[in-house]
Structures are given as C-alpha cells and as structure tokens.
Symmetry: C2
Subunit: 297 residues, 2 copies
C-alpha cells in the first residue's frame, strides 16, 4: 500500500521502468510554483505561449539534426500492425516475455527530446522586424538508463526561445547568463556556470564538443540536487542560424533568422529546491515561498 | 510565420504528424481552469494526488490486459542501439527517407494509453478498511490516425480512481453517472449518457463489447465538440476485481479490492467549451467562467 507521507512529498519509482517516476502532491505543487516564477522572468516581453504534447513529428527531429548528435537518447514510437492471427501471436509473445518487435512498425512520431524542437516548423516564413519570442513547455524523454532521480528519462522542460537578428539573439542569450544566476540565487540555490558538456554520440563527439565550446554556443548552470551531486538545471543556448536555415525562418528578404533559447529542467530544479530547503515546505525561507507563490504553505 | 490570433486561441497542427497538436495560451488557460473545477468535485474526499509522466513500464500495460483489448492503439518506445558504424547507417537510412527500424530495439516503456494504469502497481498490498481514492493525471497517447481534433493522438486524461469493497465502489461509480451529468450541465454542455462503445480489436471485439455492456461496466457522457460531432468526454467505469486481483490489492485478509474510475478527457472538454460558448472568452456565460476560475477573462 501507498506510503502516503512519502507520496505526498516525493517521487514514486515505476516498478517496471528504471528512471521513470510518479510525482506526489507537494512535488507537483512546488513545480507548478516554480513554473509560475519562470513565467514572471519574461513577462515584460509578452512571449507567444505554446504548449506541446510529449510527441513530435519524426521528420521534424530528423531535420533538427538530432540523429547526428544524440541518436542514443531518442525514442521512437512503434505500434502494432496486423490481423487477428498476428494479434494472437503478438499477445502470446508478450505474455511469454518474448520480443514484441516483429509485430510492430515504426510510426511517424518520436518522444520529444527537448521542448523547443516543436516550435521551429511553425515559424517558417518571414518574421516581423523585431523577431519573436516563444514560451514553450513539454514533457521530454531521453533514453538514459540511470537510477538516480536527477537523470529521469521523462521530465518537463520549459523554454524561452528567441528568434531575430544575430546580435539581438546573442546579447539576449548573454544577458540570460546573468539573469539565470540571479534567479537561482533568489531561490536559495548556489549556481555554477560552465560551458556545456553534452553527451554527443560516437566518433564525432570530441569534434562536436570542441566546436560547441569554441563558438560559445551553450552554457549550463548547475546546482546541488542530491547529496554530492550537482546537475545542470538551466541551459543558455545560441544556435546561430541552424534552425532558421533548416526551417526557412527569415528576417527581411532572405537572411535566415538566428535563434537562441533558455531551457529550464523543471524536475531538476524542483529536486534542487527540496535538497536546499528540506522536505517540509513550512520551514522554507519566506522569500523563496513568495517567489514560488507558495506563501500559504 | 505564426498567425498569433489563431495561435493564442486554438490548436496548431503538427505539420509532420496527423492528429498531433500544439496548444495556444487561451486553450491552455481554459484547460487549466477546467482541471481546477474537476479538483473541486472530489475535494471533500481528499484523494491522494499522483501525477505521472507520459510513459509507463511496458510490463504494467501487459499485466493490465491492454494487449488483448486494444493492441492497435498502443505505442511502444524504441531506441537506437549500436556502434558508430551502425550509427552511420542509421543516419543514412533516416536521411534517405528509409526505414530506421533495423537500428532500433524495443525499450521497457510504452506511451501511457490511459492515466489510471500507472496507479495500480503502487497499491499492491492491504488497503485500509475504507479503501482509497486517487486523483491522477497524465498525458495519454493512442495510435488513431484521424485528422479531426476530437481524436487527438496525444491528450491529457484526469481521473479519480476508487478502490474498496464491491458495493462501495459500484455505488460511487453509479453516483458519478448523475454527478458527471450535473457537472457538464453546469458548464453549459448538454450531455447524453450511454453505455460505452469501445473500439475493441479483432475477433473478440463483439464478445468483449457485449460482456462490457451486459455487466454495465462502462458508461460515457458525450457532448458536442465540433459542428455535427458529439464525442465522449467523461467515462464512468467499474472494473470489478480486474486490477485488484492482477496487482494483489487486498481488502482484509485475502479478498481482492474492487476498483472503478471516472475519467475526464481534458482536451475534448476544452474543445466542447469553445464549441458551446465561442472563441472569445469575454462572451462566455459568467457562471461558466466562475466555475472555470476564469472570472477575469
């Protein structure tokens, strides 16, 4: 039976899938408050708000180049195809603990690996002179078989995505390096800023990493999330014209828009808040509760 | 470029995946208000709140019997496995528009087809005398290739799940047939109640449907969602001891708990609200806005 005390405050391991967790009421409440605080950070810019489901067209993720960089993290949805006879064999295979895969076919969707990929196909064409900012969130999935909660396979990512002129996007991203540190400090988390250390796949990994670092494309802010564990919770990214060119997002007559994004790992930030301030919300600093709109905890 | 008016009020088709939609700000706001109103319906019972990710252990869905009844709706997550050479072939296949599947292996997770399946594995063991009620929500996915928005492949399902003695669970479910109608009426939607008409798969479909109807296990409340289209938005279910027996959820020494659930299709209900009251929230009936906590629209 449920340990309700544990449940209301924490995470619940899926007994059949490593790194997959349910969330109790308090965890969800803190995450909701955190999400509201993030909204406040760009409220003045009045971003276009979009919310996407946890799946995305497979063709979009191919166009984004994800198969080149992180093929090992991507999950693709497959479904059963066949008649009643195939169905009987399919069920028998599953119930005998055998491989289902002979009965399944690849569908047209993947599990979203990062929230902003869903945005770019909708921006094709000419942007207004001032560019655009989008506020996006979705559940994400990455096939990392780790049993530590800061590497959940399924988690929510919130992002602000800025598209516009190169200098505007880059300076917005650079300003966010400061703003993200201030935000984490105001939550009582002590961030450290460093160039990203992405787990690129295969023979090109060293080259991709060096190139990313040399061009200063991605920075991460890490905080303590568990005893002895620090993890990246916010990343600040500049994509050059990668997405603008691929999805024909234009500024003016024919120059491709540049893009950047700031991405918040909502579950990791929530874990960090519990780690920093304890399991009992009533003992959290008043300023943190205010910021998270949890004043009446 | 985004049609922002459309975006802020409506749905955004994934250009690469039929039946997959993004949501704009107003759609999301109405859905959030609706979800809060649903919370109020069982607040007095103080259900245990659980929130699950959009994936679930594959073994759990096998144990629930889903492969017998709806194998065609289930999506399973596959991921790439292989070395750098396999990776190069994988990327080449994808970029040539060829089948990726030779490079992928089945993982241990499926895309959740209904929210309550994630709950039962956590309830194994002896329940308290009074049973338990759980408030659960997750994104769900069903492989139905339809281009009408009321048959989204990815959508959110909210459920109350009641476990306990047979007569308690059944009378709770029966009472919900009335309560659900009242709730829909209060939202200005005109519901019709009917036995469910589930799309069971294959040769056993007629038998499963007749059995479900004869035992009065599932009822659906349908409302108008689009011109000329009515769709089931709430279902009221009695599972007998199906899940109690399968997951060893007990009442007293050894009798399996019975279970039932009331499930709300959040996107369909949101579509129905826009269909009934129009695209402009400021013209919606005040009582409906109050109920959705959107009084200041």
């Amino acid at each position: 039976m449920l340990d309700q005390t544990h449940l209301r405050n924490g995470l619940l391991r899926d007994p059949e899938a490593v790194g997959v967790y349910g969330r109790g009421a308090t965890f969800d409440r803190v995450l909701t408050g955190l999400n509201a605080a993030i909204t406040g950070l760009e409220a003045a810019a009045q971003p276009v708000m979009l919310r996407f489901p946890p799946v995305l067209g497979r063709r979009t993720i191919e166009r984004c180049g994800y198969l080149h960089t992180f093929p090992h993290l991507l999950a693709t949805a497959y479904s059963f195809e066949g008649n009643s006879r195939a169905h009987a064999e399919f069920v028998e295979a599953a119930e005998s603990g055998n491989d289902w895969s002979p009965f399944q076919r690849m569908t047209d969707v993947v599990l979203t690996p990062a929230a902003c990929y869903a945005v770019y196909p909708h921006l094709s064409g000419a942007l207004p002179e001032a560019g655009v900012m989008v506020d996006v969130e979705s559940w994400c999935f990455r096939q990392e078989l780790s049993s530590t909660p800061e590497r959940m396979r399924a988690f929510r990512m919130r992002e602000f995505v800025r598209l516009g002129k190169p200098d505007e996007v880059r300076s917005w991203r650079d300003a966010w390096l400061e703003r993200a540190q201030e935000f984490l400090n105001s939550l009582g988390l002590a961030p450290s800023l460093a160039p990203a250390n992405d787990p690129f796949f295969g023979d090109s990994a060293a080259f991709l990493k060096a190139s990313q670092q040399e061009q200063e494309l991605k920075f991460e802010l890490s905080v303590g999330v568990l005893d002895g564990v620090r993890a990246a919770t916010i990343s600040c990214n500049y994509h050059l014209d990668h997405f603008g060119s691929m999805f024909d997002i234009r500024l003016g007559a024919d120059s491709a828009a540049h893009s950047g994004c700031v991405a918040f790992g909502l579950e990791r930030l929530t874990l960090a808040l519990f780690f920093a301030h304890g399991q009992n919300l009533s003992t959290w600093p008043a300023a943190v509760l205010d910021l998270l709109q949890l004043a009446h905890a």
